[in-house]
């Protein structure tokens, strides 16, 4: 990847209190791809993963395929016709006592011809590691993303940064 101005921070957020969700809106269409990096600390009970929706779409337009390892075994699975995508460790217990790192890659996010593919990586040393791919079945350009947990909150000090990558 070229260094410098092709990897541009669009927006960054650090939670100053526990919040249920984090939103990036008014995302410009001037980049080729988007990368969203989060370093989060969670609280909550028996919830599961971190999930996301784009453009406020709550329809059953998301699907994803994942492979993960919890330190003991490796598992792969798939969810179809879902109301959200995944960016965390699907099906693993949500509570954690360490900061987790996640990365979302939105490929060709602003084109209006194809459905959108979104790669993700979840890293939680107390739970496991997961890599996966989401599909959002819409040809609309992505202009907003909301991240939230199936239960619980992002705790104070969690950070989220959205970067734009330009091909030229």
């Amino acid at each position: 990847m070229a260094a410098g101005s092709t990897y541009t921070p669009i927006a960054t957020q650090t939670t100053s209190s526990s919040v249920a969700s984090v939103t990036f809106s008014s995302i410009p269409s001037t980049y080729t791809d988007l990368v969203l990096i989060s370093n989060v600390y969670k609280t909550g009970g028996s919830g599961q993963s971190g999930v996301f929706q784009v453009n406020g779409d709550t329809g059953t337009n998301y699907s994803f395929t994942y492979i993960n390892g919890n330190g003991t075994s490796a598992t792969s699975g798939r969810v179809s016709s879902n109301t959200y995508g995944c960016f965390d460790l699907w099906g693993q217990s949500m509570s954690d006592t360490t900061f987790e790192e996640h990365a979302l890659n939105f490929m060709n996010y602003s084109n209006t011809t194809t459905y959108k593919t979104i790669l993700y990586r979840g890293n939680a040393v107390n739970k496991g590691v997961e890599q996966g791919v989401n599909l959002w079945r819409s040809t609309a350009a992505i202009t907003s993303v909301v991240l939230y947990l199936q239960a619980g909150s992002f705790v104070t000090g969690s950070t989220f940064t959205l970067y734009g990558i330009a091909a030229a």
Partner: protein, 172 residues
């Protein structure tokens, strides 16, 4: 436009090889760090493994990994180890001129929390077995990271033409 993805330092191994790659005096002015490597060691085997240390710290690393070797997938725990470990490197008997690739991502490295990190590492080999590993790691130490060391876990040397690049990524 701001330069937010910046090469901090690089290291290309010379003819004599190198046992240790160290990035030191890392400034605290970035948000995250990223190392990209293309490496091979002289261990007499098809595969070697990285030994990763932050600030020379030799305790309190824990990791969970997801691995594949071309025929099966597995997951492993490495707790309370003296260094980060589970990232494969092509070694001396792997296909000639083949160098493995790896990325090490360290978010909020200058902050006051324990340091989480992630790695992706792959080897290639013109044979039935090669390795890919994704790892989530944690150093339970709140000190800001100012140096990073990479070595062979089997006391081998990185061979000539191995390359290591350290980037700083800034969120503003």
């Amino acid at each position: 436009m701001a330069n937010t993805y910046t090469l901090i330092a690089s290291n290309t191994v010379g003819l004599l090889g190198s046992a240790t790659i160290t990035f030191s005096s890392i400034p605290s002015t970035y948000t995250d760090l990223l190392i990209k490597s293309s490496a091979r060691t002289d261990r007499v085997n098809t595969v070697d493994y990285y030994k990763l240390k932050f600030n020379g710290t030799a305790t309190s690393y824990s990791e969970r990994s997801l691995n594949g070797n071309g025929s099966a997938a597995a997951s492993e725990n490495n707790n309370s180890t003296s260094y980060g470990f589970n990232y494969a490197i092509d070694a001396a008997t792997a296909t000639t001129s083949t160098f493995s690739n790896a990325e090490f991502y360290i978010p909020n490295y200058a902050g006051s929390n324990n340091k989480s990190y992630s790695t992706d590492a792959v080897t290639e080999n013109n044979a039935a077995t090669a390795y890919a590993a994704f790892t989530a790691g944690l150093l339970s130490n709140t000190t800001a990271i100012t140096s990073i060391t990479l070595e062979s876990a089997n006391a081998a040397n990185f061979v000539q033409y191995s390359t290591f690049y350290l980037y700083g990524i800034k969120n503003s």
